[in-house]
């Protein structure tokens, strides 16, 4: 299915030279034989271990009594304390599950918005002709790089006038209106790689733009939609700045805001429950990573997501 892979885009086309088609591994991999390779693997494994040690330690420590967290370097608890999770879950105004659900609700709205409206806009930029297309397209690209800080103050005033502060709408409405232009760009890139013949066949069969978009383009764009979904999830889940601004009352707070409340209220004295809830907020990210890895890596590689 060569039509459904992301196009190599602006990168130079692969050479047709026969030698170049031999996998690089077989020819360059001879590098000083086995010792060299063993050394490199050892170095990589050690490096990886150092890199993710803090995260593994966070996981291990979430099962340690707080007094032990400050004494133990090891990942594995010498004394297990399961109560961190129940204590952490119940120690804020609401149960921690409430904050997780709030986060999920916002993620859900953002997913819906980005998937539908960014795909629509992407299709228009990639395939439709209209006056000023290049200008609008350039404007769209520029908005990708616009810092949110320069619009957040008036946005706040605006949503406050509408009495929508402390609801999820200020965080969802922008996504429903395709302001995450980055994903429009991603869809444009992808749609451009789909052969035009497919649409033309559909057009000859009497399909209009709506049908072509829904029946031809979207089914082929599943990889790009998956990438959009995964990054929308990760970014919205990790978002802190705009949630901090728009959500100030306890009942609408999200998981990151709730985590932050721990650091306010307890002045860092009960690390155990804090660590436990930190792990809880990381789990969804980790699951996305586990199941979406293929699209994640491909998405970053082809579009240069940060």
């Amino acid at each position: 299915m060569s039509t459904t892979t992301l196009p190599p885009g602006g990168l130079r086309p692969r050479t047709t030279d026969l030698a170049a088609q031999v996998p690089a591994r077989r020819r360059r991999g001879r590098w000083r034989g086995r010792t060299g390779s063993a050394i490199r693997h050892t170095a990589m494994i050690l490096g990886c271990l150092v890199m993710i040690y803090p995260v593994l330690w966070l996981l291990g420590s979430s099962f340690k009594p707080t007094s032990l967290i400050f004494r133990e370097l090891s990942i594995f608890p010498s004394e297990w304390d399961w109560t961190n999770y129940s204590v952490g879950w119940n120690s804020l105004t609401y149960q921690f599950g409430r904050y997780m659900l709030n986060s999920l609700a916002i993620v859900g709205g953002a997913l819906l918005g980005n998937l539908v409206t960014c795909a629509m806009a992407g299709y228009a930029f990639a395939r439709l002709r209209f006056r000023g297309r290049n200008i609008w397209f350039t404007i769209m690209l520029i908005t990708i790089m616009l810092p949110i800080h320069v619009i957040i103050v008036p946005q706040y005033v605006m949503f406050q006038r509408l009495d929508l502060v402390n609801t999820f709408w200020p965080l969802i409405v922008p996504k429903l209106l395709a302001t995450d232009a980055f994903f429009i760009f991603l869809m444009v890139q992808f749609f451009r790689g789909i052969p035009r013949e497919l649409e033309e066949a559909a057009r000859l069969d009497g399909c209009g733009h709506a049908r072509i978009f829904l029946r031809v383009m979207l089914p082929l764009a599943v990889p790009a939609l998956a990438t959009t979904a995964i990054f929308t999830f990760i970014w919205t889940w990790n978002d802190f700045f705009s949630q901090l601004i728009f959500l100030t009352s306890d009942d609408v707070k999200t998981a990151p805001l709730a985590l932050k409340m721990f650091t306010d209220s307890t002045s860092g004295s009960n690390w155990g429950p804090q660590f436990a809830m930190s792990i809880v907020t990381i789990i969804p990210l980790f699951l996305i990573f586990l199941f979406g890895q293929k699209y994640l890596v491909k998405g970053i590689a082809t579009t240069g997501i940060k």
């Binding site: 692969r14 030698a19 690089a24 020819r27 360059r28 991999g29 590098w31 490199r40 693997h41 990589m44 890199m51 995260v55 004494r71 370097l73 629509m120 806009a121 228009a124 439709l128 002709r129 209209f130 006056r131 609008w136 404007i139 769209m140 690209l141 908005t143 990708i144 790089m145 810092p147 800080h149 320069v150 619009i151 957040i152 103050v153 008036p154 946005q155 706040y156 209106l177 395709a178 302001t179 980055f182 760009f185 013949e197 057009r203 733009h209 990790n238 700045f241 990151p256 932050k260 650091t263 860092g268 690390w271 660590f275 930190s278 907020t281 990210l285 970053i300 590689a301 579009t303 940060k306």
Partner: protein
């Protein structure tokens, strides 16, 4: 490939109509485009452009949200020049960008080149190395950082094993910022994935030719890999600089929202947040935001100008 190369082509040559089949020769899809772009247009004007204009106006006013904005001319910008905390926040942010971004990119490039030597288990290593990028922006990791670099934290315990006496890295004004720089470097996985993809596009024949000429590994890296990868390095550099200037979460959580100790982690956006949303000086915050935009623009422009000296485009 990227938004940047796209902008580059748009600015250098006008994209003519694509050659298309006869059936495709239609005048315009104006009406369909209006429908497909309707949400985006609405968002562009209501969520982006209107607030953009409004904040430009507010930057010339004093505004606390309780009473109407009061026109003060350039006063906010004059105040900024004399505001020691603002100057401190600029110092902090520039230090962070100028050290964190290059260190992160060097790490990303080094590991990408290493992995590209045809190592087995590439996919595994790539995943592990990417993991910190996935979580690095979260509050959970920032909380972890507070503990790890705290007085009794993991780092000091590890140093203790070697008999080295540590200190409160987060509570010491001389080191607090560096723990956040380190956190940024720690997330080198995502630029690394982009580098890896770029490295794979370099045709092997270049390396073969270099080998025939007797070029060493280092020479091959300098004369083949670096120039051919330079557009991607450039892309990463531009994007990372833009995002690094907007860093907020980590400094906010690690310092408990204060930017302390002694304003040593007072990032620009953190100060903006404090002024705008805690002290309700919305006019001043808007002025700060516009200065941020100008800084980001200037840095990006400088990057583009400097790119002429080191970025190599094959075409």
């Amino acid at each position: 490939m990227s938004a940047i190369s796209e902008l580059r082509t748009l600015s250098t040559k006008r994209r003519g109509p694509r050659p298309t089949a006869v059936t495709n020769l239609r005048k315009s899809d104006g009406r369909a485009a209006a429908v497909f772009l309707a949400p985006w247009f609405l968002g562009l004007f209501a969520i982006t452009l209107f607030p953009l204009g409004a904040s430009a106006y507010l930057s010339f006013t004093r505004y606390d949200m309780l009473s109407a904005p009061q026109w003060v001319g350039l006063q906010n910008f004059v105040d900024m020049v004399h505001d020691p905390r603002l100057l401190q926040s600029l110092r902090v942010t520039f230090t962070y960008v100028v050290t964190g971004v290059p260190l992160q990119l060097v790490a990303a490039l080094a590991i990408a080149v290493l992995l590209n030597q045809g190592m087995r288990g590439l996919a595994f290593y790539r995943s592990v190395v990417y993991l910190p990028s996935l979580m690095g922006g979260s509050v959970a990791i920032a909380i972890l950082w507070r503990q790890v670099f705290g007085e009794d934290g993991l780092v000091n315990k590890a140093l203790g094993v070697f008999g080295i006496e540590g200190m409160g890295w987060v509570s010491n004004p001389d080191t607090a910022l560096w723990t956040i720089v380190l956190l940024h470097v720690w997330t080198f996985g995502s630029p690394m994935v982009i580098f890896l993809a770029g490295l794979r596009q370099i045709p092997d024949m270049y390396y073969e030719a270099a080998q025939l000429d007797g070029a060493s590994k280092w020479r091959q890296f300098r004369s083949v890999t670096l120039p051919l990868l330079s557009p991607i390095i450039f892309f990463n550099l531009v994007m990372q600089v833009i995002t690094a200037f907007q860093a907020f979460t980590q400094a906010y959580v690690v310092s408990g929202g204060t930017g302390g100790p002694s304003d040593s982690t007072l990032f620009y956006t953190l100060y903006l947040y404090q002024e705008g949303f805690q002290n309700l000086r919305m006019g001043y915050a808007s002025a700060m935001a516009w200065v941020l935009v100008l800084i980001v623009l200037a840095m990006t422009g400088a990057n583009f100008l400097l790119s002429k000296f080191w970025v190599f485009y094959e075409d």
